[in-house]
């Protein structure tokens, strides 16, 4: 929306024009590799701010730039997920920015030191994984039409009427399909959760984010048991035939399992 506001002398930017982006919180003995890339263009270096037994992963960024490019989002996720594969990390939601490193140390880390240290300890050796499944729309509808008489009738009705006369039937058919997806989704989600039960220490079903979503489940598991997870998801996917496709994402930072009492608000 802005036409032009030229303040592009990045080199001698005064202090107040910079801010500190916070990715997450890690144990204090963690070191960041020099090749780690943060958000921004070009990617900002990633640094640590230490306080007691814990540290924050941060980048100094320009305060006057809006955040949220696809690269920013990917960088945030990549850094934290890469971290989670090797050490415990408490991920912050995207977009956490503080004034400077001192305030990160004092206000964020010192104030909540024990709470964070405890949460990190609980995550030791574990990471988040996400199982995502998507129905094959064509297979789903073909099966529904062959099994469900009402769906078949509505579909015939729609075909034999002009478009404006069939609106009610189209809505009824669509609603029937939405309900069928939902009940199948519930059944498939339950199957997946049951099968992961022995491996996951915690499970958190997520809301579907797509209308053909079959399964959307986050789980916390030991990183060393990843191969078992892959096997379970592989088998479930095979059992489903062409009906749905399952993917396993991870190891990820434990975004779904870091709700603390105060953060829950």
């Amino acid at each position: 929306m802005t036409t032009s506001q030229e303040t592009k002398d990045g080199a001698d930017r005064p202090q107040a024009d910079s801010a500190v982006y916070v990715y997450g919180i890690v144990p204090g003995d963690v070191e960041v590799e020099e090749s780690a890339q943060g958000i921004g263009d070009p990617p900002a270096p990633v640094e640590t701010v230490h306080e007691g037994d814990i540290a924050a992963l941060v980048s100094v960024i320009a305060a006057d730039r809006a955040l949220g490019t696809p690269e920013d989002l990917q960088a945030h996720a990549k850094l934290l997920d890469g971290t989670a594969a090797v050490v415990p990390v408490l991920p912050l939601r995207f977009g956490a920015v503080m004034t400077d490193e001192d305030s990160v140390a004092e206000e964020l880390l010192r104030e909540h030191h024990d709470e964070f240290a405890q949460a990190l300890k609980a995550l030791e050796g574990q990471a988040e994984y996400v199982v995502k499944g998507r129905y094959d729309a064509e297979a789903f509808l073909t099966r529904l039409l062959s099994e469900n008489k009402q769906a078949r009738q509505l579909s015939d009705d729609i075909r034999n009427k002009p478009e404006d006369a069939s609106r009610n039937s189209r809505i009824a058919l669509g609603e029937l399909i939405a309900n069928a997806i939902e009940s199948m989704r519930n059944a498939d989600t339950k199957t997946v959760i049951d099968d992961l039960d022995g491996i996951a220490s915690q499970v958190n079903p997520r809301e579907p984010t797509h209308e053909w979503d079959a399964v959307h489940v986050a789980l916390l598991a030991k990183v060393e048991r990843q191969a078992e997870l892959e096997e379970v998801v592989g088998r479930l996917s095979e059992n489903a035939g062409g009906r749905m496709k399952l993917r396993l994402l991870g190891p990820l930072a434990a975004y779904d399992f870091v709700v603390t009492a105060r953060a829950q608000g």
Binding site: L73, M98, L145, I158, E175, I177, G250
Partner: protein, 137 residues
């Protein structure tokens, strides 16, 4: 003991292992999960502008219903046409069409986001919340 953090590059994970996160997967995760900094920090918070997407989908809406019905209609047409003769060709065409129509809202959201960000306004973007597919009943 000191542990190094690896940037999660292509090297992580064995071949045949878990798939890597797409932009849509990332949006699903980092925009509304994770610790909320406001719950911990009050004084030194910087209100930086975010250009993000509200990617939630409300599943049950009239618009969704009509889209489902349309998908059935396309399926019927495909079946009839294949009975009538041109099976392979028509099959291909319709399944392609069906695919593009039922493409993910999130994928669409991702594209929207890219569009937004490609408009070259590197300095000050207005905080833009794009709502995709958000119908209230």
């Amino acid at each position: 003991m000191t542990t190094a953090i690896q940037p999660a590059g292509g090297a992580s994970g064995p071949p045949g292992g878990p798939s890597s996160s797409s932009l849509a997967d990332v949006i699903d995760t980092i925009l509304d999960k994770g610790l909320v900094i406001d719950a911990y920090v009050r004084l030194s918070l910087v209100g930086i502008e975010l250009v993000t997407i509200d990617a939630r989908v409300v599943i049950a809406s009239v618009d969704t219903y009509l889209r489902f019905a349309e998908a059935v209609n396309r399926l019927d047409i495909a079946n009839e046409d294949s009975k009538a003769g041109l099976p392979d060709l028509v099959d291909d065409v319709t399944s392609g069409a069906a695919k593009s129509k039922t493409q993910g809202v999130l994928d669409a959201a991702g594209e929207k986001l890219s569009d937004l960000l490609n408009q070259k306004q590197p300095q000050r973007q207005k905080a833009t919340r794009v709502r995709s597919q958000r119908e209230d009943r």
